[in-house]
Structure formats: C-alpha cells, structure tokens
Amino acid sequence: MENVYELIAFILLGGMVLGSALLVVTLKNLVHSVLSLIVTFIAVAGIFLLLNADFLAAVQVLVYAGGVCIMVVFGVMLIQRSDIAESNPVNWRFGFAALLGGGIFILIGMFAARSQWMIAGTEVPKDTVGTFAPILLTDFVIPFEVAAILLTVALTGALLLVKEVKANGDRS
C-alpha cells in the first residue's frame, strides 16, 4: 500500500516540477518566472524526500528556494532596463525545442538502459543526517572550517565590490 502512495506523490511532484518549469520558460514577466522557479525547487525537494534524502531536501529548500532565487530576483531588479512585463519574451519554436529535448531524453534513456546499476551492499540508512554530522565534524573538520573561510571571503569580496561602486558615486 505504501508504494501506491509513493507513486501518487511522485506523479504529483513530477507534475509540479514539469508544470512550473514550463511556466518559468513561458511566463512573460521575469519576476513571475522566478516565482515559479521557486515552486520547481520546492517540488524537487519533495522528490528528494521521496528518495529518503532528508538533508538534501532541506538544502534544496534553504539554498535553492531561498538563496538562489533571491540572487536571481536581485539580478533581475538591478539590471532591468525596460518594461519588466515584457522582460521574458517567448520564442514559440516548439518543433525545434521538441526535437532537441526529445533527442536529449532518448540519449539519456539509452545510457540509463545500458549502464549497470550497482546495488548497495548495505541498506540505506533511515536517518541520513544523524550519520552525516559526526563524519563532517571529525574526519572532514578541516574542509568544514575551510567552508567557513570561503563563505567569509565571499561576503567580504561582495562587500568590497559594492563599496567600490559607492566610491565611484552612488547613482541609484
């Protein structure tokens, strides 16, 4: 019975991913496209949950639906030049797009059918985060702290860039 529910959830989430991804491409307003991009990311997080990848789902919601989308919105808002309602022009070349998309789908399908899927020797752990954290804080503690340095460098670098803009005269 469990499998039936999983199938229903998968079909619903897959439909959400495909539908909202299609809206990202076809909506005229770039900001609306970003909004449906957020829906796509959240539905992908749902699919991660179906695959028992809790941590990846949390990362998907936090970083993609939160961080990446904010960066995209700001990118859109800051570089906008003309009317935003017409900022995402649609190119209705369905034939070409279908050919390209179908070709890639067949190619990936071919490789997927050919490859030999390894079956893990042990059972997939139920609690993924609980086993992941001790490894992160013992064996990989140096990369973990380096990640903090990387983030700090990114922050200071971004602030330096903004400061440079201010020094050249604030024209906003």
Binding site: G67, M77, A133, L136, L151
Partner: protein
C-alpha cells in the same frame, strides 16, 4: 516515509485555506465597479508610477549577507540534529566555524553595509 504524510496534509490544508477563502469571497462579495476600486490603495495617497521600478542597489548587500548566512545554516542543521552525540568537541568546532563567519559580519558592520543610506 510516513512521517512526511503530515507535511503533505499540512501543505494541502494550507492551500485549501487560501483557495477556499478567496473562492467563497469571490462568490458572495458585492460587486461595484469604479475607478477607485482598481487602485492599489482604495484610500490614501494616490499611487505614482509603476511598482516594477528599479530598486536601490543597497538591498543587494542585505541579500548577499542573507545568502552567506543561509548557506551557514546548512552546516548548523546536521550539527543541531546530533548535538548530544557530538558533545563538547562538536560545540567547539562549531564555535570556530561561526567565529570565522562572524568576522565577515563584523567587516560588513564596520563598512556600514548594515546601515541604510
């Protein structure tokens, strides 16, 4: 798997809350058409220009700081889940991690990136 059924139900109830509210209001609300009904604020200062204007670049610094700390939370999350198991050593390592990031925040503060100009 089954623990996520609650989340799915919560999302459905949340959606229904919005859809039913707006739908019932659409069915029963009185209809009067005039110019003021179409304005952003029915009473108050007349709206000027479009809301789709360009925004001040300073919002961008807030967004950047948010994204950095958003990524930091990913590292906090596994640590918080197995906090008891990791013990004091985990606490110290996490404090070093946060200290390095707070250096970045201190720099942002020093440069006045958090002040609105």
């Amino acid at each position: 798997m089954s623990e996520w059924v609650g989340v799915a139900l919560f999302i459905m109830a949340g959606l229904a809350f919005g859809v039913v509210g707006i739908g019932v209001s659409f069915l029963v609300h009185p209809r009067s058409k005039n110019r003021y009904k179409l304005e952003t604020y029915e009473c108050g200062i007349p709206v000027e220009g479009s809301a789709w204007g360009r925004f001040k670049a300073q919002y961008f610094t807030f967004a950047l700081i948010f994204v950095i700390f958003d990524v930091e939370v990913i590292y906090l999350y596994p640590w918080a889940v197995s906090f008891v198991q990791l013990g004091l050593a985990g606490l110290v390592k996490m404090f070093i991690f946060i200290f390095i990031l707070v250096l970045g925040l201190w720099y942002a503060w020093k440069e006045g990136a958090l002040e609105w100009k």
